[in-house]
């Protein structure tokens, strides 16, 4: 009788695969010598499993690896077995918990503690007037003082060592006449702050430049394979959404340690390597009737890394839910490929040809950033797309918002024109709602939420 694999049984999957590989290698050795006089080896075995998660009546986590299950979130598990001829004796990892844990998040992400500190720096600079103004209509001292008071609600979206920090104070996004505060913070510069927009600004547009810089950081990050930086905390989060993450991390480690013990000293010798899992979750659970949306999920990976004779458990935020990556991005891309006309219908001459060319250019299509952009307290299938295109012989961007309904992409609205390096108050709503999506994610506990 087949049953789901419990987390506590995970080592059986490792060990059975290794046993199968070893038996097959022995078979090859035997038959090679006896019959064929050709030598064959199995240098590597790879397993990549998709699974769902469930908790059984006794509280044990079950990995639903078999067919016939459809999960809200699909997670992946992979490992490899590598033949090690004449292995040198190696120390076995601790049985229960890893001795070293490394927690990383995307290089551009600012942790909550640093965010509060930068908010203080910004408020101080605004009060002291250590700022320059990117808009013709400069704010008064009162305007800056008001911004400084409100800055507690600030969002630090991203950082770039060569640029500094983009800080946005979410106001009402221009909907009721008020503007978001948009600042570039360079703590080491003489003039630490550049003001791009502020609450009481009477301008009907906002510069696109700081957002282009910010999005450029994301584009480079994606192109570089999404590198991460270590975070200050070395504590493994207890849970992600409904996933008992700490239990899962410990279970994976214990299965790995048990498999290492079992495989130690066996002949032929195989070493288990590249053990890891990637988990998908949403905080809070997606709402608005999009319960099984394939587009909204944060990704966290667990990897057992081997370096310098020691193993460690590496926990990594692969991507937050507000920036679509991997299969979520691919699923959106499929929808977009079928909705080119819906986008073009929203564009006017003389940009239509350039946008049509960009949408049909696979490289540019792949380079487009797709981000959540919604209003309200729960994530929805509503997106901001920032798409590269050629314009007057140079690279430029256009942006649009849309939602995905039962019939695909709909409600397309252009939010940034190719020819402009600014967005109107109405167009800015796309950016604002995206920043709102980030804020919701952070308010729900960032990714290091604990149970």
């Amino acid at each position: 009788m087949a049953a789901p694999l419990l987390l506590t049984d995970l080592h059986h999957l490792f060990e059975d695969t290794a046993t199968a590989a070893m038996a097959a290698q022995r078979e090859l050795d035997h038959r090679s010598v006896e019959a064929a006089h050709h030598y064959y080896s199995i240098p590597r075995v790879q397993v990549a499993a998709k699974f769902g998660l469930s908790v059984d009546h006794s509280g044990l986590i079950a990995l639903l690896l078999g067919s016939g299950h459809k999960e809200q979130f699909t997670h992946t598990l992979q490992f490899a077995l590598t033949a090690i001829p004449n292995p040198a004796p190696a120390a076995l990892p601790p049985d229960l918990t890893p001795s070293v844990t490394l927690i990383t998040e995307p290089t551009w992400m600012v942790d909550p503690l640093s965010r509060r500190h930068l908010g203080d720096v910004l408020a101080l600079a605004l009060r002291a007037g250590r700022c320059r103004f990117a808009q013709p209509a400069a704010p008064t001292g009162d305007d800056l003082a008001r911004e400084a008071e409100e800055i507690e609600a600030t969002i630090v979206n991203t950082k770039d060592d060569s640029i500094g920090y983009l800080v946005v104070r979410l106001g009402d996004g221009g909907i009721f006449g008020g503007h978001d505060g948009v600042f570039l913070l360079e703590p080491g510069a003489d003039l630490q702050v550049t003001v791009f927009d502020f609450l009481t600004s009477d301008q009907d547009w906002t510069s696109w430049s700081p957002f282009a810089q910010w999005l450029g950081v994301w584009t480079q990050w994606l192109a570089a394979g999404r590198p991460g930086n270590p975070v200050n905390s070395a504590t493994i989060p207890g849970s992600f959404g409904s996933i008992a993450f700490l239990d899962l991390a410990q279970g994976l480690w214990q299965a790995y340690a048990a498999a290492r013990r079992t495989l130690s000293g066996t002949e032929p010798s195989y070493r288990i390597q590249n053990v890891g899992t990637e988990l998908s979750f949403a905080i809070p659970p997606s709402g608005g009737g999009d319960d099984d949306t394939p587009y909204i999920s944060s990704r966290v990976s667990l990897q057992i890394q081997q370096a310098a004779g020691q193993e460690r458990l590496a926990v990594r935020l692969v991507a937050p839910e507000y920036l679509l990556v991997d299969d979520a991005r691919a699923a959106f891309g499929q929808q977009l490929a079928a909705a080119t006309q819906a986008v073009l219908a929203e564009t006017a001459d003389p940009e239509r040809d350039a946008i049509a060319a960009a949408l049909s250019d696979r490289n540019r299509r792949d380079a487009a950033l797709v981000m959540l952009s919604y209003r309200g307290g729960h994530p929805k299938n509503e997106f901001l797309v920032v798409h590269p295109a050629a314009w007057n012989g140079a690279e430029a961007q256009f942006a649009f918002t849309c939602r995905i309904g039962k019939h695909g992409i709909e409600s397309v609205k252009l939010r940034k024109h190719l020819a402009e390096n600014a967005v109107s108050n109405d167009e800015y709503v796309g950016i604002h709602n995206h920043l709102h999506a980030i804020r919701i994610w952070e308010m729900a506990g960032h990714w290091t939420v604990r149970s």
Binding site: M1, H12, Q25, Y39, Y40, S41, I42, A49, S67, K70
Partner: protein
Amino acid sequence: MAKKQTPPKPRKKAAVASRPPRKTPAITDPAAKLRDLQAAYDQMLAAPDAKVAAELEKRAAELETLFGAIRDRAQEYNRGQAVISAGSKETTAAFRGLRGALARTAPAHQPVEEEGEEHDEAFFGLGHTPTIQSVTSAAEGITATPTPDFDLADFFRNVSRSVIDAQRELDRYSLQYARQQSQSPIPPALYSIPTVHAEVKAGLSKQDGSGILIRLFKDDSESNFTESTISFDIVASPPAPGGLKGFTAPVPPFLAVEGDDRTRIMAALDALPKNPPFTAGWQQRTVIVRDLDVSLLKLNRQVMLAFIFGTLPVPPAGASTDFSAVPLGVFRFTGAAAPLSIAANALAPELVRAFNAVAAWLQSITVP
């Protein structure tokens, strides 16, 4: 307006009647079946033409392969290396293959029992056992338990066997091809399988006994969110990790280079007085040869020879090594008895014994 009732079409009774009902095939006596086939082939060969001859040659080669597989298994059984039981996977696969081959090799007028289509691929495909269907064994009419799952180890083992078997076949055909090319100015080529990539997409679950089961998907609808991929490569290589212990090349069976035999003999030699050739480093200058003569094997008697030679002198410039000056010790070990030193004037039969083992080994690695 009422819809006009259409009377059901009469079933084609004649066609149904002419087709025998699908039944479980059973070959109660494969040898008798083969005798029937031989008679049919004899009939064909009585009035051969080029087309028939070519077809027969092809089919004969196929049968050779299949009988070879059965013979191998039987030999393994005789050597005590495998247990063949009716309905075991290996036996079933071999007989399934045989039955499939009989179907293919039968002349057109020869009636052949109906069988499932999965059999051909089951035997010749890489994943012959992983083709999990309700399999009816031709051997003794035994029916294997139909199951949607299979063991992970089966998948690995059967792919491995298939690679070796395929390479062996390739060797045979390479040699045939080389012979055909013997009169050609184009040098013959030998073919080998450098790598085989095996991959199965399946669901995984736990067996009651805690083993991992692979569940193959019957169709795409079952593979929605929980498809797993298990893949591995089998590559032609120097001897596999661990396969040759500490050696980098295969060691012929007549040489005892490790294991209990060598340990025992080296210990016995070590206990002897340390006269020449037992000078420093003698262990590296000791060669132990097994006498693998068939007569000894039948008597279940083990005879081994140890050749120990002294340090080779450095020859003068421009001269070759003078081996006549090198001390040589030869000892015979019969069973567990103490070593018997062989005098110089009695060396000839021991040398014949040693070179007979070498000759037998050379014969065993010659492609037939």
